[in-house]
Symmetry: C2
Subunit: 345 residues, 2 copies
Amino acid sequence: MKDPGELTARLLQGDRAALARSISWAENGDPRFARVLEAVYDRVGRAWRLGITGPPGAGKSTLTNELARLYREAGETVAVLAVDPSSPYTGGALLGDRIRMEERTLDPGVYIRSMASRGGHGGLARAAVDACDAMDAFGFQRILLETVGVGQAEFEVVGAADTVLVVVHPGAGDGIQAMKAGLLEVADVLVVNKGELPGADQLVLDLEEAVHVRLRPSLRPDRNTADAGPAWTPPVVRVSAKRREGLGDLVAAVDAHRAFLEQGGRLEQRRGERRVEQVRNVVAERLLDTLWGSRDLGRALAGRLDAKTTPYAAAAAILEPILAAIPYPESEPSAGAAPGGANGA
Amino acid sequence: MKDPGELTARLLQGDRAALARSISWAENGDPRFARVLEAVYDRVGRAWRLGITGPPGAGKSTLTNELARLYREAGETVAVLAVDPSSPYTGGALLGDRIRMEERTLDPGVYIRSMASRGGHGGLARAAVDACDAMDAFGFQRILLETVGVGQAEFEVVGAADTVLVVVHPGAGDGIQAMKAGLLEVADVLVVNKGELPGADQLVLDLEEAVHVRLRPSLRPDRNTADAGPAWTPPVVRVSAKRREGLGDLVAAVDAHRAFLEQGGRLEQRRGERRVEQVRNVVAERLLDTLWGSRDLGRALAGRLDAKTTPYAAAAAILEPILAAIPYPESEPSAGAAPGGANGA
């Protein structure tokens, strides 16, 4: 199954091996994926994509398994993409968890796939969106997109979802920690998992307060701007995935967020923004892969690298001919004030 | 202080305001930073850089404060750079912690700076290295580089350090979680903080076992390859930053790692690799800022974006004239097998 045309045909016939292969193409940056996507793109956009992120130990894998079970029991088909941006060496440490889910993969209504970092410039976020598009075109109705770590790369991955769940658990200062780690700003629904543990009540209160104090629209330039209507306030839902408690409330909160986005063109806007981001990812990855894959550039770089040469001097020598050649002139200064620019001098 | 020449002069005179300004220039991508760095680069490389990362709740801030205190008491000058890649909206949520450290900033031997994400393509990792270079050139002997979250972006930031501390704490499955999140592979020293809590013994054992089972050199292409000598085995150090217990052992472990790197050209190699990475960051950032800052490209993009056009088709239209113009031909396929390529079809 090496020909995109044949693979596309099999994909549309519901051949799971074709789906797996197309995702591998996306993961490996194989140009054949673009041809597959082109052929099935009119089928993309029907699935509802749930992003699930949060600190290690929050129980994201268990929660993902339970949500998959619930949606499945409600008669929906479910695809799970477990993304591990943090483990470039081990090639997807998540597989351990996924084995626990393998039993379910005998069910043709469920598809589970793990994806590890291919490292570098946004390649994983791009590949994760590609995989979701493939699962979507294949016909899965729910896509659960789970990340292992919690950080900028992880947020970029789940940020491509329609509804983002941020999962935290009771523990020393985790409420404050969650806010510190910027989790709050990416959340559409805040999930306090392990709700049976001491401190769960306090964590729920901390998060609810934080939501109302911190999430002023002014802090969220990328969200809820489709109309002048009310902004979305992320609800805080307490669950215990292990005990299967509170999951109905969580599903209801996701449905409420979906209903919110489906008004006033918000969904179209959000998905449009995600599409632009994906175009940028593809452009950046292809451009930088081309540069770093160039022996000529490697030679140019090696010839200029010693402890006496600043990275800027070495970079300038490489950039000069490129910037001179690019047909898109820079029309705005690249040195915009950073969010953190307020700190310091 | 808007002129790089004047700022450089003041920097070399030990003017902290000049240091702060130069770091702000680096943070904001201001081209003036390159000129400052050029003028002081011969002073860069004398400081020992400690990277400190780990999951939210592990107590990284407290540990960083305690290490700063210890090194200071030992007569060394200390600079702390607290990096928050995860909070593009709040502009550095870490500032809360840092206020607790302000008392110490009355000491001219200590400098504390917080830096938040400016988002996007490796800009923060680049800016963090720039800030460390500036602190190094300024004359600080120890640089503590702390991140908030834990993930790919955070690893790229601390990866620029000479010695990377990965801080974890006892808690449900955190040992396994830490391994899952790929923390193990970036660690030079594994720190079990909150060592007074139940589960600390087990976590130490889990991590020691994991170090010996998982950290085969074959899994770590970028490490310990300077000679055919013995590879570094990350020690597991149990501490309680809050109770000030075990910190002496931690300092000793850092010294041991430093002694290891200072043999057989390992340090030169590691710093050389970091320098190459920094050049790549500068090139990528400048190139992509130029593209996304181009109104022409914005128009080209807007003209091609609708729900019917795949991101690849839109990207191809933008890339074609660029790739045609780049003087560095691609000499290797960009579609290398991904670490996760083994999964799936």
